[in-house]
């Protein structure tokens, strides 16, 4: 059955070599002009004025190409990718792949921002300090927390930083040796287990209840004790199910003397609906590169905004941005701080973009973001569960979800042999980039976690649903077609097992040449 919504997609296939292989000795992109005698007479010869210790002994081994060759090379590569700006990027759930307004790029590329030096005098950086200060005021309002910093370079570092504060807090109370356990849940982001564990805490993971999908109160009660340092929790969890017992759980941990740390990396279903404070959290973090629209940039320019309640403020990493009524300043004089966790100010490009995003939306706009996300998600869920064969949404049957759903292709695999890996690759033949399956542990078989946030139109969500429907039909009619996908992409299925031994990894041209014996 043909469907008019589906594209006859085919991606470019350039068979493009690595840029080093394109190199021809002697080719240049820019030929520098000869220096005028007049200048040489005034300042001396270039090679003489550069200090000896700064001079290269050997030329850098860079590829040698002309400008048009470089341009063609990268344009070809760009045609072989499927990024956020070109595909309907609903598939990468838990990441909130939303449209990043292009005007924000003009702000961060503006020389007033891009040429700031981290060691500039505060007198000359009042503008960015004001933005950072006001951004933390916004986040205080959004979360109900009392103080924020933008030091962590991502969500994981923010959780680690919160775990560090937890450790410092109990050390101060003289309970450092006693409060050694933290509790998390199986569908919270795994960094909520990993970061405190790295900090030396023992991790206890609550498993989901068979029906609701989140842990029962009794499970928590069974393990909470005077050894409990904290509860690290995501809500809604990865399943998109909101844990309605959150306040009760937090209260139980508080009564046992523990603290509660909320992972709100993905806040997209929560703006204006529920705050960290009302859930009872003592600490939390937001990923400015997710719900706050700053791009992920391939795991690059991230920022985990870390927020705490008043009684924990003194432990925040330095510097904290302050305001004395006249001027903004960096406060490094904080004796109880857990210290410096990142160079200079943190990733302030993400702060600037997120600030712009909040300013342009306002409080009502933020609430609308969440309402639209939830609406979009439940619309997609309805279509997938009623129209697509072989898909299911384990736990919390017949109930609405928040901003995302963790589906299972388990039935499809059972009935056709086509699993989530296969569906994922086949989706590329319809112009989608790969989708997100699941964080570990894989409690839901053959998982798949899309997140149709507020920046996708109904038409796009429909197209996405139609693709899933089509691939499922193909799996039942012609499983081989799906299992051997992609067919329309720049590369075909590579059936080789992935590289797992670090010895086999080749990540640079230098290593490649060494391993292949090329001079």
């Amino acid at each position: 059955m043909s469907n008019k919504r589906l594209r006859n997609f085919h991606q470019a296939r350039w068979d493009e070599p690595i840029i080093f292989e394109l190199s021809t000795p002697g080719q240049r992109g820019i030929l520098l002009p000869k220096i005028d005698d007049e200048i040489i007479n005034k300042v001396g010869k270039a090679e003489e004025i550069i200090p000896e210790k700064l001079k290269r002994k050997e030329l850098p081994k860079l590829p040698e190409l002309s400008q048009p060759q470089v341009l063609r090379h990268f344009l070809r590569l760009s045609q072989e990718t499927l990024g956020q700006d070109i595909n309907i990027d609903i598939g990468l759930g838990t990441c909130t792949m939303k449209y990043s307004p292009k005007i924000h790029e003009q702000f961060v590329r503006n020389h007033k921002f891009s040429e700031l030096h981290p060691l500039q005098d505060e007198e000359t950086t009042q503008g960015i300090l004001e933005i950072m200060y006001k951004m933390s005021e916004f986040l205080k309002e959004i979360s109900g927390m009392d103080a924020f910093v933008f030091q962590p370079g991502g969500g994981a570092q923010a959780v680690f930083s919160n775990a560090s504060i937890l450790k410092a807090y109990y050390a101060d109370k003289g309970e450092g040796d006693k409060r050694t356990e933290i509790i998390t849940t199986a569908f919270s982001h795994p960094v909520n287990a990993a970061a405190p564990h790295t900090k030396g805490f023992k991790v206890i993971t609550l498993m989901p209840d068979e029906d609701t999908g989140y842990p029962s109160i009794d499970a928590l009660k069974a393990v909470v004790s005077d050894r409990t340092a904290g509860l690290f929790i995501t809500n809604p969890e990865d399943t998109g199910i909101f844990n309605v017992h959150i306040k009760e759980m937090v209260d139980i941990v508080h009564q046992a003397g523990g603290l509660c740390i909320g992972d709100i990396a993905d806040a997209n279903g929560l703006f204006g609906i529920v705050r960290a404070k009302e859930m009872g959290y003592d600490m939390c973090h937001y990923n400015l590169h997710k719900a706050f629209s700053s791009p992920h940039g391939s795991m690059g320019p991230c920022c985990g905004a870390q927020g705490v309640k008043k009684f924990l403020e003194k432990y925040l990493p330095v510097p904290v941005v302050g305001f004395d009524g006249e001027k903004y300043y960096f406060d490094y004089d904080r004796p109880d701080s857990i210290g410096k966790i990142r160079k200079f100010y943190g990733v302030i490009a993400a702060v600037l973009r997120a600030y712009s995003w909040i300013i342009s939306l306002g409080a009502d706009g933020l609430k609308e973001v969440s309402e639209l996300s939830i609406l979009n998600n439940n619309y997609l869920m309805k279509r997938l569960l009623t129209e697509v064969r072989g898909i299911s949404a384990p736990y919390s049957k017949e109930k609405f979800r928040m901003e995302q759903v963790r589906y299972s292709w388990g039935k499809l695999k059972e009935e056709t042999g086509v699993g989530t890996d296969d569906v994922e690759r086949r989706c590329m033949d319809y112009g989608l980039q790969e989708f997100y399956q699941s964080h570990p542990p894989y409690l839901i078989p053959e998982p798949f976690t899309p997140e149709p946030n507020e920046t996708f139109s109904k038409d796009e969500i429909d197209e996405y649903a139609e693709i899933m429907k089509k691939v499922s039909e193909e799996a039942y009619e012609n499983p081989k077609l799906v299992k051997t996908a992609p067919h329309n992409g720049p590369i075909s299925l590579i059936p080789k097992p992935p590289i797992t031994d670090p010895e086999d990894l080749i990540v640079t041209w230098r290593v490649y040449k060494k391993k292949k014996g090329i001079n």
């Binding site: 206890i204 498993m207 890996d421």
Partner: protein, 372 residues
């Protein structure tokens, strides 16, 4: 070299099910099943798997047994095969299954594909143990063993994976059976007979491409080391049956009983394969802990394959001295269903209910519910 697959179909498997006989073990029951109008179902189920194999695997040699123990099914589908052995009566018995398994081994097959139920699995296990890999097509009334695919088609797919992927992992999987006579009286008396090797497809664990692979082997070692490092002085440890618990003895460099209970104290072996009386005698007046692991896919921690842990033993031990260990993949295979106990004593079962700190890796704990 052409790979050889040994095909054994137990044609009468499953016949007792439709007519409410809870199994088809023994001639008498088979007669009753026939009187009640039972029809052979296993051949059709086996054919589903065989059809898939025919369509998807080239260059494979099938060795099978006469009549509807495989020959007929292959003929029906036009699958090339070689018949070995003979049967003397139209009504086949468990002896035929065992004889067929013997012949398969003599003929050096690479894998045995069989259709049947727990009884059939036991017969094959009796002969081959864990010498060659097997995969079962579920066709019996009782399917408690973990050596079966989830449906006939998937059995075909696992055979395909086995032949196409030279690096496929083999997993020791439980061969279980329940006593049919007892079961007909309404009592479940399950026994763990042993382990056979089954080609393992990672369904419930993270796929390789996501990186950070955590194999069952690494989890097992982590669990065992963690239990050992936390062993208390002067305390008896009763290590239950199974491959997960066996690792503890292995890491202690002590001999173990796969299907029995081993007793350890201060890292030294006290007794292998202890029965209930041994346990009560040795632990009397002393501190002791029980270490158990759930049965994969089912979740029983007491009452299946470890009846030596009787209500008397469990009650003497107390709940907080029970250590539950499991690999994360085994927990995932329970699909959020609770752990189970069935000791035969309601009060003991009731006492065992609740939440356990299940050790799933080195210093890694899942909190998991147990019901009865």
């Amino acid at each position: 070299m052409t790979k050889k697959i040994g095909l054994i179909i137990n044609p009468i498997a499953g016949m007792g099910g439709r007519v409410g006989l809870k199994g088809t073990d023994g001639e008498e029951i088979l007669k009753r099943a026939l009187i009640l109008g039972a029809k052979k179902e296993a051949p059709d189920k086996a054919k589903k798997a065989l059809k898939y194999i025919k369509e998807n695997i080239d260059g494979m040699k099938i060795l099978t047994y006469p009549g509807d123990m495989g020959q007929k099914e292959c003929n029906d589908l036009g699958i090339k095969h070689e018949v070995i052995g003979e049967i003397y009566d139209e009504t086949t018995t468990s002896e035929d299954t065992e004889e067929a398994a013997k012949r398969m081994i003599e003929n050096n097959v690479d894998l045995i594909l069989f259709a049947g139920g727990d009884g059939t699995a036991r017969n094959i296990f009796n002969v081959i143990g864990d010498r060659i890999p097997v995969i079962g097509i579920p066709a019996g009334v009782k399917i408690h063993s973990a050596v079966f695919a989830t449906n006939p088609l998937n059995a075909g797919r696992i055979v395909e994976a086995f032949f196409k992927n030279p690096d496929i992992e083999l997993k020791e999987s439980e061969v279980m059976d329940i006593d049919e006579d007892e079961f007909r009286k309404g009592r479940v008396v399950a026994k763990l007979y042993g382990y056979m090797k089954v080609p393992y497809q990672r369904v419930y664990v993270q796929s390789l491409k996501s990186g950070g692979i955590y194999s069952d082997e690494i989890s097992l070692e982590g669990i065992a080391d963690y239990v050992i490092e936390n062993m208390e002085k002067d305390c008896f440890y009763l290590i239950g049956a199974g491959t997960t618990t066996r690792k503890i003895l292995e890491r202690l460099k002590l001999p173990s009983t796969l299907l029995g209970i081993d007793i350890v104290k201060d890292r030294k072996l006290i007794l292998n394969d202890a029965n209930e009386k041994d346990i009560l005698r040795i632990t009397e007046g002393s501190r002791f802990k029980i270490v158990v692991s759930p049965i994969g896919g089912q979740g029983y921690i007491f009452g299946r394959g470890n009846q030596q842990f009787s209500p008397a033993v469990i009650n003497a031990c107390r709940k907080d001295n029970i250590i539950v260990i499991s690999t994360p993949s085994k927990i995932a295979s329970l699909k959020s269903k609770p752990l189970l106990v069935d000791t035969g004593d309601d009060e003991t079962d009731e006492m065992l209910k609740g939440y356990y700190r299940v050790i799933v890796g080195y210093d890694e704990i899942y909190v998991y519910k147990c019901s009865c």
